[in-house]
């Protein structure tokens, strides 16, 4: 099947490399940017920064709780710490440390979380966190960002260096299409309408934005006009953009590599139920843990790929 895609790509890359490259650039721009990592420098792509700025980089060993505390201290001392580890160990493992020392104390700490979601693949459910967005968005003061490809992740990394306040930045391991522009401007909290449509709104975040782009083309081939909106910032959520789109289309789909419970879809449901109760279908993991497998296999098995977005869009339309 050849699809007429509105966005295309010539190259694939992991979003964690976008983080690593953005982090290095942020370090060059601002001498206050510092880094920390808990024995995963290679996996987080923080090695180039460490090489260039060894005196501004702290290897903590496998001790994530300590790393969060150190970050809070560095922040209150005027630095801008980027603390990196796998998303599971960057959130659930250290939730209270983040809650008390970072969020409640409102410290300018950037929690940088790689290998999020199912697409980390073969390591399996112990590492595939699907609850992190929920945990992080519940914390007052916390900004939560989940970019969709290499370019957007790099732009987001640069943007959070300039933003004052705690941030959770989520990215991943698999090689993924690069379909957004190089050197784009990243505006925290501003949704990006990527494709105009009239019948159904698709709100997607992270890796699933690409699946949404594919789904739009599939729907169009069947005569359904879908609007695709890239929700790179889960919190603060761009309520205006959501309401404006649904006012036009009358129904919506949320798509995320996360539990349905507590995810982006829940945030959107809150907005709609308050202002414009409209049918909303969820594409996300349905109250289950993941497992080992390849990213493609897992997205299919757990119902997160373009075909599932198409199905959800039709279900939402049918409920209009």
């Amino acid at each position: 099947m050849s699809l007429d895609l509105k966005f295309t790509y010539t190259e694939k890359k992991d979003t964690r490399s976008g983080f690593g490259d953005g982090f290095l650039e942020a370090g060059r721009k601002n001498p206050n940017v510092v880094g920390l990592c808990a024995d995963l420098i290679g996996s987080l792509k923080m090695g180039d920064f460490q090489k260039e700025f060894p005196e501004r980089f702290f290897q903590t060993g496998i001790a994530e709780a300590n790393m969060i505390g150190l970050s809070a201290g560095l922040a209150l001392g005027g630095k801008i710490p980027f603390a990196g580890t796998f998303a599971n160990f960057a959130t659930g493992r250290v939730y209270d440390q983040i809650r008390q020392s970072v969020a409640y104390s409102n410290k300018n700490v950037k929690i940088c979380a790689s290998h999020a979601g199912l697409t980390l693949g073969e390591d399996g459910a112990t590492h595939q966190i699907l609850e992190d967005l929920g945990m992080m968005k519940m914390l007052p003061h916390m900004t939560v960002i989940n970019p969709c490809d290499y370019n957007q992740t790099k732009a987001a990394t640069l943007a959070i260096a300039e933003y004052e306040g705690p941030v959770y930045l989520r990215f991943g391991r698999p090689s993924w299409p690069i379909f957004t522009p190089k050197d784009q401007k990243f505006e925290i909290g501003k949704a990006w309408k990527m494709i105009d449509g009239a019948d159904v709104s698709i709100f997607a975040t992270g890796h699933l934005v690409w699946e949404a782009v594919v789904a739009e083309a599939m729907l169009r081939a069947e005569g359904i006009s879908a609007e695709v909106i890239n929700i790179h910032t889960i919190k603060p959520l761009d309520e205006e953009a959501i309401l404006e789109s649904v006012k036009k289309t009358g129904c919506a789909v949320s798509a995320e590599e996360h539990q349905i419970n507590g995810g982006l879809g829940d945030s959107i449901a809150q907005v709609l139920s308050r202002h414009n109760p409209a049918p909303l279908e969820y594409v996300g993991v349905n109250d289950s843990f993941g497992e080992s497998g390849t990213p493609t296999q897992l997205l299919e098995k757990y119902g997160l790929n373009a075909e599932n977005i198409v199905k959800a869009a039709k279900a939402a339309l049918a409920r209009k």
Partner: protein
Amino acid sequence: MEKQSIEQLQKVATQLRRDVLRMVHAVQSGHPGAPLGCAEFFVALYFDQLHHNPDFKMDGKGEDLFFLSNGHLSAGWYSVLARSGYFPVEELVTFRKLNSRLQGHPATHEHLPGIRVASGSLGQGLSVAIGVAEAKKIDKDEHLVYVMMGDGELQEGQVWEAAMYAAHHKMDNIIATIDYNGQQIDGPVSKILDLKNLRAKWEAFGWEVNEIKEGNDMKSVLEGLETAKSLAGKGKPVMNLLYTQMGYGVDFMVGTHKWHGSPPNDEQLANALGQLEETLGDY
């Protein structure tokens, strides 16, 4: 299980190494380094030391138990479990694949016999082991609870919370083992976050420390584990410092963190298997 000779046990360890390499190679993911270094330990434990029942019961009442806190050694653990009769050896082929019971890191979710709690997120296994050891004390079950951790894993604070608890509560039915290979992901442990004097640390926490200096020599490992057993039941938890080499048994893998989590390619696999005789038959 009938006692096997050192030569027989060494054959099992060699086969375990082949299994590990073939498993991680087949899915091009997983962790070969540490399981290669722990082959003697795994085999000595399951084929000689443990009073255990491959006809698996989750509650483990009336038998010795083993927990792998450093869950990324899963390939080695799965091999020894299969080779000692917990599940068919052929199932090793499903390692890390979709719909498998052999998850990337050990899990109970898919009901693989031999696994009693998930591990993979480091630093949690000692606490769980102490918990079940407490249950055994209540039940007056004299069997032992074994647990393994990595040396890098000791950087996690929870390990030391558990260490303090075990000594205070006189958990002398716990035999813990550190895979003291000196390596972690980003480099040697001494460069990343030095453990300094590990014997002194554990002793200061109130543990009986038993050093097994030749962790890749079957005879020494057997003797060391015997010593550990003789130290149990005397009011203190027991800690084995097991000196191993990451990647042991394959000349180009030995002694470096580079093989912590990298699978061999086709050529490297062939080279490695050439150094390890097929003793029990590949799966």
